[in-house]
């Protein structure tokens, strides 16, 4: 298997995968983009294959959709900020631990990524209900007079989403901390820098790429989250993903649902790409 012996060898090797992706990812996406320009016939429930921008005009001009898109990206931003605020210090603390504690806690923090989102969300639903743990605890502490429920609230939805996504932030920052040379920190300390200065001037700039890539992951996954907003937020706190789901499976207006999904895809891509562009310009030196 000498490298480059035949120019078409790599193409030959990746052909099965590429064919699979063209047929099973390319074609469905193209069909969905086409579908988003078709018309839904409310009288017959059928789909009229006539090209028009109606669905996009509906999504982009209706205040009902504005609210849903606003809420979705608002929650995504909030969840990202909270994940930075608690995930970054946790990654730093974890990195300074000794083994075996280091590996044990790392497993506890990132292991939940592999536990079904449904299970984790169910846990929060159990804690949030008016008969749940948080309500009981608040009443016992005398902080609340009666049952409190965080179900179907923005606060509840944010807490649950932070729980689901914060491991990604810890992981991204953890990865960049591995490349940090502890001797630089020691040098700064021995030269008389305070702990705070070391964090701000030495550690933070070096883990910045990790924080930024972590926030991109957290933001885009929150923007398209379905199960958690659907269970915790319910019908009162609809987000883009749950709205698209309702259009597809309740209203059966597939063209409108497709348009909502495409707008979500494009909006997320634009936000992530402009953020990426911004970072690359500011931190050009940090990236290799």
């Amino acid at each position: 298997m000498a490298d480059g012996s035949r120019d078409n060898a790599p193409w030959f090797l990746s052909a099965p995968g590429l064919a699979l992706f063209a047929a099973l990812l390319g074609a469905p996406l193209v069909l969905t983009v086409m579908l988003s320009f078709y018309q839904f016939d409310y009288s017959t429930g059928g789909i009229q294959p006539a090209f028009s921008f109606t669905n996009y005009l509906d999504v982009l001009s209706d205040s009902y959709f504005h609210k849903i898109f606003g809420r979705t990206f608002g929650v995504a931003l909030l969840v990202t900020v909270v994940c930075i605020l608690i995930g970054v210090p946790e990654a730093y603390v974890l990195n300074r631990m000794r083994n075996p504690w280091k590996s044990i806690f790392l497993l506890i923090v990132i292991g939940p990524l592999l536990i079904s989102v449904i299970v984790r969300t169910l846990g929060w639903a159990l804690l949030f209900g008016s008969q749940g743990g948080i309500s009981t605890a608040l009443q016992w502490l005398g902080l609340a007079d009666g049952p409190v429920s965080l179900m179907f609230t923005m606060t509840g939805m944010t807490i649950a989403l932070v729980h689901v996504l914060v491991p990604f932030m810890v992981l991204a920052v953890w990865a960049s901390l591995q490349r940090l040379d502890p001797q630089v920190e020691d040098a700064a300390l021995s030269l008389g820098a305070s702990q705070m200065t070391v964090l701000r001037r030495i550690v933070l700039p070096q883990v910045m790429p990790g924080i930024l890539s972590g926030s991109m992951i957290v933001f885009s996954l929150t923007a398209s989250a379905f199960a958690t907003p659907s269970i915790i937020g319910g019908r009162r706190m609809k987000v883009v993903a749950t709205t698209a789901y309702d259009e597809y499976l309740s209203t059966l207006n597939w063209p409108l649902g497709a348009a909502i999904a495409i707008v979500l895809l494009v909006a997320t891509a634009v936000i992530i790409m402009s953020y990426n562009r911004l970072i690359e310009r500011r931190y050009a030196r940090v990236f290799e």
Binding site: F21, L35, V93, T121, G133, F168, A172
Partner: protein, 264 residues
């Protein structure tokens, strides 16, 4: 090496409590002997675990998810191995683009994948079939398979291969006897991560799953959307136990932090 201060440790304790709280809540509720939900619970009972047996829907869904995860990750890994060798071994125009294609499902929101597969399978007559949902899952888990196999392909030493080739082994023999055993940990890790991802997937599956092909997480979602009871907590507890077992296996096989750095 400096130690963590008191403030750091208090923060760390709170953080760990936050991570574990919902998981412990699920476990606590699943052992209740009462017919309804309440936290905290008193008394331990296996009543709700026995009740699962009265719900064949969940048991069928479990087997469905198991078959689906096995089929999807096996197909994904067999396609990923040659592709990873192409990307990891050869310099060719379009290499970056090929990599991007294989990783693209990570960039596309699951809802978008879900609606696209729904429409596509509807058009080609595969909607609601096992083949349909399997193919959808192959695409979904491919990035994980590619990443882990690629990491082991680029990380493996080449001298044994060159020695074998010099001694007259054919390309196929070199691959089968040298390359494959050396990248096996990556293949196994990739397969396991792909399997877990497929087994847990909800958002995309909810669009493609029919009553006959309903996966366990999808059935659980529909149950929770109707009612939250100790039964669903008992099922979740079993699922957690299974996941933790696989997780320990994956950690032994490959190192969990290395596996998960790319999950997202």
């Amino acid at each position: 090496m400096r130690r963590n201060g008191l403030v750091s440790l208090v923060f760390h304790t709170l953080f760990i409590a936050f991570i574990l709280a919902p998981l412990l809540a699920v476990i606590a509720v699943s052992f209740t002997g009462k017919g309804y939900l309440s936290l905290p619970t008193d008394g331990l009972s296996l009543r709700w675990f026995r009740t699962i047996l009265d719900y064949p829907g969940f048991i069928d869904a479990f087997w469905m998810s198991l078959y689906l995860g096995t089929a999807a990750s096996t197909i994904a890994v067999s396609v990923a191995v040659p592709a990873a060798i192409a990307i990891g071994r050869y310099e060719f125009t379009g290499r970056e683009a090929v990599t991007a294609v294989f990783l693209s499902p990570l960039m596309i929101p699951s809802v978008v994948l879900g609606v696209s597969f729904l429409r596509f399978f509807n058009q080609i007559g595969l909607s609601g079939t096992f083949i349909g949902i399997t193919l959808a899952h192959v695409i979904m888990v491919m990035p994980y398979a590619i990443r882990l196999v690629l990491a082991s392909v680029t990380g493996m030493p080449r001298d044994a291969e060159q020695a074998a080739a010099t001694l007259g082994a054919s390309n196929w023999t070199v691959f089968r006897r040298i390359t494959l055993p050396l990248i096996l940990p990556g293949i196994a890790g990739g397969w396991l991560l792909a399997f877990i991802t497929s087994f847990d997937e909800v958002t995309m599956s909810i669009f493609v799953a029919s009553p006959e092909t309903m996966t366990l997480p999808v059935r659980m979602y529909h149950h929770i959307a109707q009612t939250i009871d100790p039964l669903i907590a008992a099922i979740s507890t079993l699922l957690m136990v299974g996941t933790v077992a696989l997780l320990v296996l994956l950690d032994r096989l490959y190192g969990l932090d290395r596996v998960l750095v790319g999950k997202g």
